[in-house]
Amino acid sequence: MEKKRFRLNRRQFLKMSAATGVLLGTAGTAQFVKKAAAAGQTKGAPVEFKTVRTTCSPNCTGACGMLAKVENGQIKAITQASDYPEAEYNPRGCLKGISMINLIYGPDRLKKPMIRSGAPGKGEFREASWNEALDYTANKLKEIAAKYGPESIGVIFQVGGTGYVQKGAVISLATLAGWSLHHPYDQNGDLPIFFPMTFGVQSEEAEPLEWLNSRYIAVFGSNIMATRLPDAHFLVEAQNKGAKLVVFDPNFSATAAKADEYVYVKPGSDAAVGLGLARVIIEEKLYDSVFLTTYTDMPLLIRSDNHKRLKAEEVQGLSKPADVPAYREAYVAYNGQFLAVHPEKFELPGDVVLEGELEVVLKNGTKIKAKPSFQLLKETLSNYTPDKVETISGIPKDTLVRLAREMATTKPLHVIYGASNYQWYHGDLKGRALALIPVLTGNIGKSGAGISTYAGQYKIRMKLADWWVPEGKPQKWFPWLYVLHGPTKTMKAKYPAHGLKALITGWGNPFDQHNMANKLREMTEKGDLEFVVTMDFQMTTSGRYSNVVLPAASWYEKTELVATPVHPYLQLQQPAIKPLFEAHSELWIARELAKRLNPEFENHYFPGIDENTAAEKVIEMLLKTGGPTVAGITLDQLKKGPVRFKSAAPGNRQIPFYEQINLKKPFPPVSLPAKIEQTGQFVKSGRIEFYKDEDLFLEAGESLPVHKPPFEESEYALNPATREKYKFAYITRNSIYRVHSTHSNNVWMDELQDGKPRVWLNPQDATAKGIKEDDYVEVYNDRGKVHGHAILDPGVGQNVVVFEQGWWSRYLNGESFNSLTYPFIKPTNEVYFVPGVWSPNAAWNECLCDVRKAGDKQ
């Protein structure tokens, strides 16, 4: 429905303006009127806001275009810019973005550099000059690097895509100095690791405009209506265009409330649901066999003796084609004769077999048995009958069969798989199982189709090496879970000899958001973590634990280049006001630190020029060297408004795997900044892979996706007593009032929720515990506890406690909602290591707890 905007025509406007007496001077321009000196009269000159177009960029990564309305050097209001060329995207922005003024001008704003004078977390600081703070910081970092090696200094920079220039400044400094980088994608638990396992890529997402082309949208545990506010309307519009929206969730969420059909599932049972749906699709022959033969590993043969994929070079009469790169492999299919399958060509004949068992003669004359992956999948799926899936998931069997038929026959089908659902120990299995539905039905690479996650937007959209990686120096990456967990036997990443001794952090609040089991606070209190420096525009909990706090510019006070795949636009942040007090952009801070660490480092940061001019120079450089997605885009264009990234799809639309399916390019697409040599090995066949033959998968019994119940290999393995002691799943979800911990201190957001942290319970569970609405309750396990006020919500599933994450510690009496969680590491997350692409992923929701009225005895 095209909405007609309210506009007065010129005549109406003049008539009304004259009548209301608000127009002064020459008619025809709408301008504001200065204070009237006396009733009935208007005096003074009209006032016009200066408006500055910039981009909101907290870690929701929504990157909404905003207009700052400035008068007298103050931002009086923030409104959505509503200037995207596709009207459907306007207006982008939410209640947090438009109330950002409360943070920019709020009481927690940092004014000057601060050096901690008291114990960590106590808030005792003294003000320092920039020179003193920077000298002190640089000297401490040099000292620690000399003592423990530079890799013992870790850098948290959060989501790179929301700030290529400023975040890049700190990343490049870490590269120059040899410090370790913590990739946020796995640190935040947002890496959907089934993506590299199945498609070889970090992740790929359909842009929300594409939702309008879907005819069936199946949402598994994603709460778009709360976590993607600017995009949520596309779901409603898709429904109005005829799409069916089905939401699978243990809780009746805001998204479930808008669905055409809400399907309750037990927590942690989604893999069984996916496999049950896939079984029906295969049993009833509703799959697209041409798609499977052409683009997936389904026809490739698996050896029955060692369960590895049969290689062409192993088979008598076959050989690996000479032009197969080292990171790929040629495997084997059969259509009456054995065929070497070239991993970079989708050219298998239509008659290759997908089912049955074959005898193969190897080069040494040995005869072995082999089956196509599809045959093995079919055998695995035979375990997931509708009856069994009903027992595991709670979905009535008839409903499951009906939904499978609907999904297989209503195209295009788009699956949305939420992070809350994959931030579990077996999140990879769930994703691999759910990916079966669009793949079996050929819903990949097409408009309105696919599987998308929409958690974080980490995918780097352009080449950044010239800025992020000075002189191509090697970067050191240290996955965050190892900081908390310690090294594992199976880890592929390098654990620094002395662990983490210093931390440099910006754009985040790790002491609230990442301190699983309070580890980070303890490390600081005990002195294991010897030095912490935070760059932020506000004094957060992390600031309070830091040795040095450097006042950074907010995103209305600096120049930055921002990208996000939810609406694939390249946009600028442009300063609407000068940085308040003594704040500076991170580029300036990095440049000043670089100078103090090593005078040669400074050359990378455009020394001697104003920080915003330097940022513009970086942007010009990146646009020049950024590659095909930004070809032809100029800084001047960006200053006028958002510019769409280039893609191979019509209209530059962002359609996952468009090139693979339509232009027959092998999987995977590149995951910048990683090289194809690194990620190509994830899917050596060059195809969508469901069968994984690396040893760790085979040992786990996960060569094909299976359902594994939650907690068995995590909580119960860690402590068997947990099975009887803690029966509630502890889910920390996002609230509409915060972006993680940003806006925790926004006065209006707090008013809208009465300033109280909440604990959401099923009313039956609450009654059993003697808990009434609004009671102050304690959620706890052996590792930690958190308090909040109870909300009895009939939409919350039984045996689930929901806590809305992001509250700063000061609103929780010093407690942390993350003190209950544990840094479980699943070995299949360690098969390879490519930072932020295949790396151990935080499983926040793999956590058990109990709940009681505050003050009740243990």
């Binding site: 109005n240 069916k244 006065v747």
Partner: protein
């Protein structure tokens, strides 16, 4: 001219961006909200409501309903509340004596009272010194009535003005412009070609507490669409 609004509750996602935009542009002090979004049937916003064994969660945005027969206007002893020629119910902050009859008379509970000096209330939040948010200037109507001022005097009643500071210039209210769900449609109900007129004419709309005869100029479209 008769300005009115249609709120499409099917499109409303309950995000409360409109309430925040309203507060910001109209410089409302802490505790004051001209425009609120509720989950009817629920104590806490966005909590499911169990009904006949079925769950639901719908939203209702409520601000001044801009009644054609405004009870607040009738009870105002000094004529501070009046309806302008565009059909907008406004308060003259200089005429209001703070008797609060209007707060009692309004069946929608949308009128707010300045118990405290708004400047002081804002200062208590701890904004940086000298900072003021919202539309920065006074707005007076043709008769000189003060219908907008960034800091209302202590002891006066206030409410939604359909953003008089913007709509008197032919612009749209802040809540309409800020709604990511595009659930709010604003326009002239006297103009049969306007979108609001078309919706009121063609769609099943309802108004709040219609039985009271207040005849609001805010219309709602049902949150529930027919399911296939």
């Amino acid at each position: 001219m008769k300005l009115g609004m249609v709120i499409d509750l099917e499109r409303c996602i309950g995000c409360r961006s409109c309430t925040v935009a309203c507060k910001e542009h109209n410089a409302q002090p802490p505790g004051t909200w001209w425009n609120r979004v509720f989950t009817p049937g629920s104590e806490f916003h966005q909590t499911a409501v169990g009904k006949d064994g079925k769950l639901q969660m719908n939203y209702l945005a409520v601000s001044c309903q801009m009644c054609e027969n405004p009870p607040c206007q009738k009870v105002c002893p000094v004529g501070a509340t009046y309806t302008d020629e565009r059909g907008v119910v406004l308060v003259d902050y200089e005429r209001c004596i703070g008797c609060r009859y209007c707060l009692a008379a309004c069946p929608y509970g949308v009128r707010q009272f300045n118990w405290q000096d708004p400047k002081k209330a804002k200062a208590e939040v701890g904004y940086q010194e000298g900072y003021e948010y919202g539309y920065p200037e006074d707005v007076r109507d043709k008769n000189g009535h003060l219908v907008y001022t960034p800091n209302r005097p202590v002891g006066v009643a206030e409410k939604c003005t359909f953003c008089v500071e913007y709509t008197s210039q032919g612009k749209e209210p802040a809540c309409v412009l800020s709604c990511p769900g595009k659930a709010r449609i604003f326009g002239d109900l006297d103009d049969s070609n306007s979108e609001v007129s078309r919706l009121v004419r063609e769609r099943q709309t309802y108004r709040l507490k219609e039985e009271l005869g207040t005849s609001p100029k805010v219309f709602y479209l049902s949150p529930v669409k027919p399911k296939p």
